[in-house]
Subunit: 157 residues, 2 copies
Amino acid sequence: MTDTAAIAERELVLTRLIAAPRAKLWRAWTEPELLKQWFAPLPYTTPVAELDLRPGGRCLVVMRDPEGRDWPNPGVYLDVVENERLVFTDAFVSAWEPSAKPFMTAIVTFADENGGTRYTARVLHWTVADREEHERMGFHQGWGQCADQLAALAARI
Amino acid sequence: MTDTAAIAERELVLTRLIAAPRAKLWRAWTEPELLKQWFAPLPYTTPVAELDLRPGGRCLVVMRDPEGRDWPNPGVYLDVVENERLVFTDAFVSAWEPSAKPFMTAIVTFADENGGTRYTARVLHWTVADREEHERMGFHQGWGQCADQLAALAARI
């Protein structure tokens, strides 16, 4: 067996307390028409969201940059627990076709806290280098801005 | 997106018609005490089989070579359909900790055919290089010998 770097060295975490019930955040993550409204950090948009919400189901989210170029993000759901936990990965493009490059697995959880929701996204990478690259690409700012957009959407649905 | 090699170039397949009902092959794959009797190509043995049989469940199979060295194979089940289909991968060591090296995902299927079972193992790799390496390591002979051992076990349980 190859030695594996400690999980903490391959993980990025974003967590927020959001003033909305878990069920609304869940809807925003799982209903395509809602997800399109917050998923990409503005001025990026999300023209496509196909979400086959079950373990092994395919998710395809396409982000569009301000120049009009599309950035498809295909993946597969690994775990789906309503209002609680959503796990997906880009290691597969469908069940179970390996992708060109397994980069990350995201574990998104929703828990009651102080009348709102503790929203946590743990993003796990296969290598320390990929975690570092994701951080350089602006993980904290990008996912942070999206969490703000998610919170704003949850307040109006 | 990176271009991905066609799945056929990243896949190894073993298929056999086995004169046993699906349910017996399923048991041989999913009951630890049975799996230990056929999983490693003799003279290798299988001293450890821990099988948490559910999507996201961990599987740990340890093979022992004739010199007494142990070769642990940790993985995670992705899909479990009794008597029909078992999917597991070494891309994770537990739900959902990425492994040091995502090497393969195996899709094992069992289907009725001519009073016996069509047994098929499709082994998918992330890269063509890994598929080639797996073939050089003796995939066809190794999985073939194990299929014989599996058939022999199924005939006596």
